[in-house]
């Protein structure tokens, strides 16, 4: 048996940030040349940091990297590029106002005399590369006008144009539609057959199975398993990926669903400023004491739906009612006053103010009325006591109400956000990705809180990318695909595989306009 030469080798790599956070520790694994290797693990497991070190965006604080057998010390992406390493980042790194060709050749531009950019040569090169790799693009198109799937192709072309022998891809399918994913996988296989080495980050089991020749699992910054796909059956693979006992299932529901819906949405549609239809004809009911789950691949309208229901955007069509009163199209504060609470998708962006104290963060939805303020004056004493009570009651690990929010872990931050939103015992809670990127214990605590709120009679819309979470918590599940609801299921009547099919547009489509098809 011949051993393929190693394209990538990490030996005991450690990354500690100046603030003391340990992102990786003792990470060792290897990828053979021509192999597609999957790097899997939960959010925050340190996968992206590994990628950044391989691409010179971060420097390891200990250990060694080898590329094609040679030890390397990348100080700058330029070093990595010179060594034949290319990165397709998770957040696509393109310059929107430039054309596809300009983006692809950026950094390695064909020139004419006088430092001029040779646009014709650039376009020709891009066209040739696109043909070779099966990545169809228009070199003259402006990147800003392209859909995300095409932008990703541009990103891959960029890497290929620099002659990369090793491609790093960070969650490439997160933003893709199923046909786009299929095209991407075909391209990656083709590239690997042509001798290129591919390291891809994912957390989807089926993608690992479909694509990879080898897999390495990271958990909390360390390698917890590494294997060749040929040696694994599916059970072993999922055990490897989970790597530990599953968290205890959240408590089952205790209250029976009452027949009268509390929230009724009909015909919700949304058109953005560019005239693109982001949501169309979305309707659903949620009864008190019920959790309706919304499944979908990121970018299929979940964010828009959450914004419409929280007053952050005005629907272009349709409305939603709470106990018969229309609450869409009102301001966020008015929506909140009617009893609608919202956990936003990205807590650092629009769910919290990391530089302000825990206290100031908790006040955000309650500061404008008694008991926390009267006639425009905030009662700091009452607010403080309440904040301390929240910290204690939710088991938040924090020094006190004055600690900056940003100093907390993701789980503790998310607990405080949920606490803030449910403090006024809302009639309806819209929870977007409530446990994304938090540790297992915190996720389980958060799910228990959601279940408790449901048991108190609140209606809950749970938007989550975590199918296990949806299946465990929801009474019913609706699937969003390209801005429409394409399938509805009762809990227990569906499994992750079926949901996955519908999420990728491959399931049989819904007939007619049956909002109330499932009780």
């Amino acid at each position: 048996m011949t051993v393929a030469p190693l394209a990538i080798a990490l030996e005991g790599v450690e990354k500690r940030y100046p603030n003391g956070t340990l992102a990786n520790s003792g990470v060792s694994f290897a990828v053979a040349a021509g192999e597609i290797h999957a790097l899997v693990g939960e959010n925050g497991a340190g996968k992206s940091t590994v990628m950044k070190m391989l691409y010179g965006l971060e420097r390891p604080t200990a250990g060694a990297l080898r590329i094609h057998g040679r030890p390397v010390d990348f100080r700058h992406p330029g070093d990595a590029i010179a060594a034949g390493v290319g990165l397709v980042a998770q957040h696509l790194n393109l310059v929107p106002s430039l054309t596809v060709a300009e983006n692809v050749v950026l950094g390695h531009e064909p020139r004419r005399a006088g430092g001029r950019l040779d646009r014709a040569a650039a376009a020709a090169r891009v066209r040739a590369l696109a043909e070779q790799s099966g990545l169809a693009v228009d070199p003259a198109a402006t990147v800003a006008s392209l859909p995300v799937g095409v932008r990703q192709r541009v990103e891959i072309l960029k890497v290929l144009h620099r002659g990369a022998r090793i491609l790093l891809l960070d969650e490439p399918t997160a933003v893709l539609t199923p046909p786009e994913t299929a095209t991407l996988f075909a391209t990656l296989r083709q590239l690997a057959e042509a001798g290129r080495t591919i390291l891809v980050i994912t957390h989807k089991l089926d993608e690992v199975k479909a694509l990879a020749g080898g897999v390495t699992v990271l958990c909390q910054g360390r390698v917890t398993g590494s294997a060749r796909m040929a040696e694994l059956d599916e059970g072993a693979l999922s055990h490897l990926m989970v790597g530990r006992d599953l968290p205890p299932p959240p408590p089952r529901r205790t209250a029976r669903t009452r027949p009268v819906p509390r929230v009724v949405a009909r015909g919700l549609g949304y058109v953005d400023d560019d005239g693109a239809i982001r949501l169309r004809d979305v309707g659903f009911d949620v009864a008190p004491g019920e959790i309706l789950g919304i499944a979908g691949v990121e970018g299929n309208g979940q964010d828009v739906l959450a914004r419409l229901l929280s007053g952050a955007a005005i629907p272009s069509a349709g409305d939603a009612r709470l106990d018969g009163r229309v609450f869409t199209g009102l301001s966020p504060r008015a929506v909140h006053a009617l009893g609608v609470a919202v956990v936003t998708e990205d807590r650092l962006h629009d769910g919290a103010a990391p530089t302000l104290s825990i206290l100031d963060n908790l006040l955000a939805t309650r500061y404008a009325r008694p008991p926390l303020s009267r006639r425009g004056l905030i009662d700091r004493g009452t607010a403080r006591r309440w904040a301390q009570a929240v910290i204690d009651g939710f088991g938040v690990r924090a020094a006190g109400p004055d600690q900056p929010m940003g100093a907390l872990s993701g789980g503790n931050m998310q607990k405080l956000i949920l606490a803030r939103e449910i403090a006024d015992a809302p009639a309806f809670l819209v929870a977007s990705q409530p446990t994304r990127g938090v540790d297992i214990a915190a996720a389980s605590a958060l799910q228990s809180r959601l279940a408790a709120l449901r048991d108190q009679g609140a209606a809950i819309l749970l938007i989550s990318a975590d199918l296990d979470e949806l299946l465990a918590l929801s009474d019913r599940i609706a699937v969003l695909y390209r801005g429409r609801i394409v399938a509805r299921f009762a809990a227990g009547a569906v499994d992750a595989q079926t949901l996955g099919l519908h999420m990728t547009g491959l399931g049989p489509s819904l007939d007619g306009d049956d909002h109330d098809a499932v009780a």
Binding site: A312, V342, D350, L356, A364, T365, G376
Partner: protein
Amino acid sequence: MTPSREGARIALAVGAALALGFAVMACVSDQPWAAFRALLTGPLPSIERAADGRVVVHRLVRFGAWLQDATTLTLVGLAIAIPFRARQFSLGADGQLFMGALAAAAISLGLGDTPTALPLAFLAAAAAGAGWGLVAGLLKTRFEANEIVTTLMLNVVAVQVYRLVVGRVLNDPSAGFITTPPLPEAATLAPLIARTTVTAMVLVAPAAVAAALFLLRRTTLGYEIDLAGANPWFAVRAGVPVARATALAFALGGAFAGLAGFHVSNALLKRLPVDLTPGIGLEGIVVALLARGRVGALPLAALGYAYLRVGAQAMERATDVPREVVLVIQALIILFVVSDRLAPLALGLARRASARIGGRAA
């Protein structure tokens, strides 16, 4: 960073700026030491025991000038610091001050020698400054117009409006230069200390700071301004009226700059010349910077900075060094204070140098 470390850092920056300023003075002056001494002791009154045993206080004028300058600087510092709480870079204190001064003078002249003239002039100045600030605020929140550009442009407009009104409407033809008539006595503030221009405004400045602190810390509007500055996206989602809070932050800052205008017109000059020099608004940036955006620290920063400015005037009168040297020192203070990586770099270099010296000695 902790306040004490921050304080040490600023002290270091000011010290370094003074040292470099001295180097510049040594280059352009024949008497650098005398000039430096005048700069650093200029604002202090000298107390002497005369031959007949009486205590005589000299140079009270400059001491008064110091307090009076600190008053103006505190108020324009507020005009910068409050919008900055909402993360807005307002450079509009100048225009707001001119509008405030103009409004105060116009009301004073219009009402004449009546008891209401003074309070109404005071309020008019605050309102005019606030209104001028609100324009920039609304341009930002309604039209996303870059506030640096709009406040600078509004400064130009305000100065021209001021010159137009002083030169053509409120002009006193009997004066030898273009100016308003002297303001009626009832509308002006009398000095608290004889032979100085120190008036009750010296107490208004700290009161204004206290009011601003109360507003920012204890009121819902203050909270809204802070939240809008810390994370506007979050604030919007939480239902906070971000646009209103941001616009009002400009207006609030403007009100204080307007009061600085009142200070200039009704306490200091008691009439408004057409060629009132713009630029004091930019000094507010230095003060806000020295206070590191902490509203409570503004009076201290203003006192420190006014001390330098008055010292520079004393130096100019006593020696061959023009007062513009203080501009150089001011610029260096700004640059050193704002350079976050400078202190660590300097300390690192010093450590390396001392290590090398130590190594050689060993």
